[in-house]
């Protein structure tokens, strides 16, 4: 079922006209409403009238995560705070969260794109949806919640954690749609087995999984163990939240809600617009957003775009499943983690960062983050108490800065590999590419 066929099945020409019209309005809005964009455009000698169609987009400057960080918390908002009805935040590169704001209309658009996304996964108003994405500053939980309510599902706002209770509710309420991270889905599969719940006791039919990269191999495993159809949903808080793109029953890419989020593919090195069939960095322009309107936001996700006809009948462009990034950001249990955040904590505690490496493993389907630190003589203390308290201090500060738990292990000097050029700070042993 297509939730909004007038928007999702337009001809490509009608869509381009709609996008161009919205882009013109957007550029006027940001030029007059956001000092950051006005300055940038003025320095380029550009006026809003110079942007007539989406073809003119490449003449506009990019926006990056560090622009949001530099304007923390509300510097890039397009409206006064009294028009903001919701705030969300995700982690940034140096411990400052990335803050996003929404007007009432933005929340309406967000609910709309989620409703479209859920419908494309095969979810209908008669479904019982268990939203096990985290509720809170993270956009996952509330994003799915509002959209599922709009679609008309019965929503179970269970958030993450307490797997035992999750599976009991899944069985007792008769959950038909599960929305959570793919690794949490596998974790729940284990909890189902631990509670001796039989697959036939469950009514799961569809899974709506995202917030972290996951392979087709993981998809098959999830489907086999939970007995549902596992669908991929994509999004990022800066652009809106989950719901920017979602898979349909044809399962050959995720339809981008491009009447709201205009996608481009650029070369990650030169930043020049390139043929979207060649993998490059995904860039979004938020055509209709008011609270935090963004021009050409660099997602750092690598993908391709395909506008050819889709068997489902939607004409919106499809992006390939995202499995790689053009920066060093990690996604740990759905949370963005930058190695530089960890390095900043070590520098703060030791004066100079000691040699370290971050290891990422997947144990029982949950991501496990470990930090190995070489104990050189600056750090070596003679009592176990001092070593333990330093370790505990590192762990506490990193967990506080990142919002994910981390194991800290002390190792001997010279045991971490040195490299000629840029240090390899992360060893990711999860097989997600």
């Amino acid at each position: 079922m297509i939730w909004n066929s007038s928007q999702e099945s337009m001809s490509r020409d009608e869509l381009a006209a709609c996008q161009s019209r919205r882009l013109r309005e957007l550029v006027q809005r940001v030029y007059h409403g956001v000092a950051f964009y006005r300055d940038k455009m003025q320095r380029l000698g550009m006026m809003p009238e110079d942007i007539r169609t989406v073809e003119d987009l490449p003449s506009l400057p990019f926006t990056t995560k560090s622009d949001l960080r530099d304007n923390y918390p509300f510097g890039l908002f397009g409206v006064p705070l009294d028009q903001i009805v919701r705030l969300h935040a995700s982690s940034g590169t140096t411990g400052r969260p990335t803050v996003v704001g929404y007007t009432r209309r933005d929340i309406g658009v967000w609910s709309e794109v989620i409703a479209r996304s859920l419908a494309s996964t095969g979810t209908t108003p008669t479904d019982l949806i268990q939203v096990a994405y985290g509720y809170g500053l993270f956009t996952g939980g509330l994003g799915l919640h509002y959209g599922a309510e709009k679609l008309g599902c019965a929503v179970i706002p269970i958030s993450g954690g307490n797997s035992k209770r999750q599976v009991q509710i899944m069985r007792d309420f008769g959950t038909t749609v599960l929305a959570c991270t793919p690794s949490y889905a596998l974790h729940l599969a284990e909890a189902i087995a631990d509670e001796h719940i039989d697959r036939s006791d469950l009514k799961l039919r569809v899974g709506v999984f995202g917030a972290e990269p996951w392979t087709d191999g993981m998809r098959r495993e999830i489907e086999q163990r939970l007995g549902l159809t596992a669908m991929d949903i994509y999004g990022l808080s800066e652009v809106m939240g989950p719901g920017v793109a979602c898979e349909c029953s044809a399962r050959c890419g995720l339809h981008v809600q491009e009447d709201h989020f205009f996608p481009e593919i650029v070369d990650p090195e030169s930043l020049k617009t390139q043929d979207p069939a060649i993998r490059g960095e995904l860039v979004f322009t938020t055509l209709t957003k008011e609270g935090l309107p963004l021009l050409r936001y660099r997602t750092r996700d690598l993908t391709t775009l395909d506008a050819s006809a889709c068997a489902c009948g939607r004409t919106t462009v499809r992006m390939a499943k995202c499995l790689a990034r053009s920066d060093d950001m990690l996604i740990i249990r759905g949370v963005n983690v930058f190695p530089s955040q960890i390095e900043a904590v070590l520098m703060g505690l030791a004066g100079v960062a000691p040699h370290y490496v971050i290891e990422v493993d997947r144990e029982h389907n949950l991501d496990v983050l470990s930090l190995l630190v070489e104990v050189d003589e600056r750090l070596f203390a003679d009592t176990m108490g001092q070593l333990e308290s330093w370790t505990a201090s590192v762990r506490r500060q990193i967990e506080s800065a990142l919002g994910v738990s981390i194991r800290v292990r002390l190792v001997e000097p010279k045991t971490i590999a040195r490299s000629e050029g840029k240090a390899k700070r992360v060893i990711d042993r999860r097989n997600i590419q």
Binding site: V375, D376, E377, L379, F380, A381, D382, T383, M384, G385, L387, E388, R409, L410, V411, E412, P413, K414, T415
Partner: protein, 150 residues
């Protein structure tokens, strides 16, 4: 009356201890006392050796993290209550013990202690009539072993 003790950071995996003992044995450095404080991932190896400065240099050359710490060595009679007497003197004086290791053999026992204040520890124990064993009597034969205040 302070004794220089060598501490080495070692990961808890096989071959680490023998790397240390091989290095010292090869250089004809004798180990007088030794203990390992362990945790699941790593341990601190503490030793009183015949030449701690040379030993530190050799172990550092092998890439190990090494530190030198002042400790005190008490000789008590090998009878019940002897250790208690010494520890009570420290406790009354408000000196806290970080760690200790000891071995009794024959008539006497030797106790190595690290405390929060080594200088005060020496004064308190001597005032309490305890016998302190200096570097020379522990087989330490290097330039810094002779404390002029002895």
């Amino acid at each position: 009356m302070k004794v220089q003790q060598l501490s080495v950071f070692l990961e808890n995996r096989s071959g680490r201890l023998t790397e240390v003992t091989e290095t010292l044995g090869h250089a004809c450095i004798n180990i007088t006392a030794q203990c390992v404080a362990d945790s699941s991932d790593y341990g601190v190896l503490r030793m009183v050796v015949s030449d701690p400065v040379q030993a530190a240099a050799l172990l550092r050359a092998r890439g190990l993290s090494v530190t030198l710490t002042d400790v005190v060595c008490i000789e008590t009679p090998n009878v019940p209550g002897a250790l208690h007497k010494a520890l009570e003197q420290l406790s009354t004086a408000g000196v806290s013990v970080d760690y200790m290791y000891a071995f009794a053999n024959g008539q006497t026992a030797l106790v190595l202690i690290r405390t929060s204040d080594i200088t005060r520890t020496v004064n308190v124990l001597l005032a309490g009539g305890q016998k302190l064993v200096g570097p020379r009597d522990l087989g330490m034969s290097y330039a810094g072993a002779f404390d002029p205040s002895e």
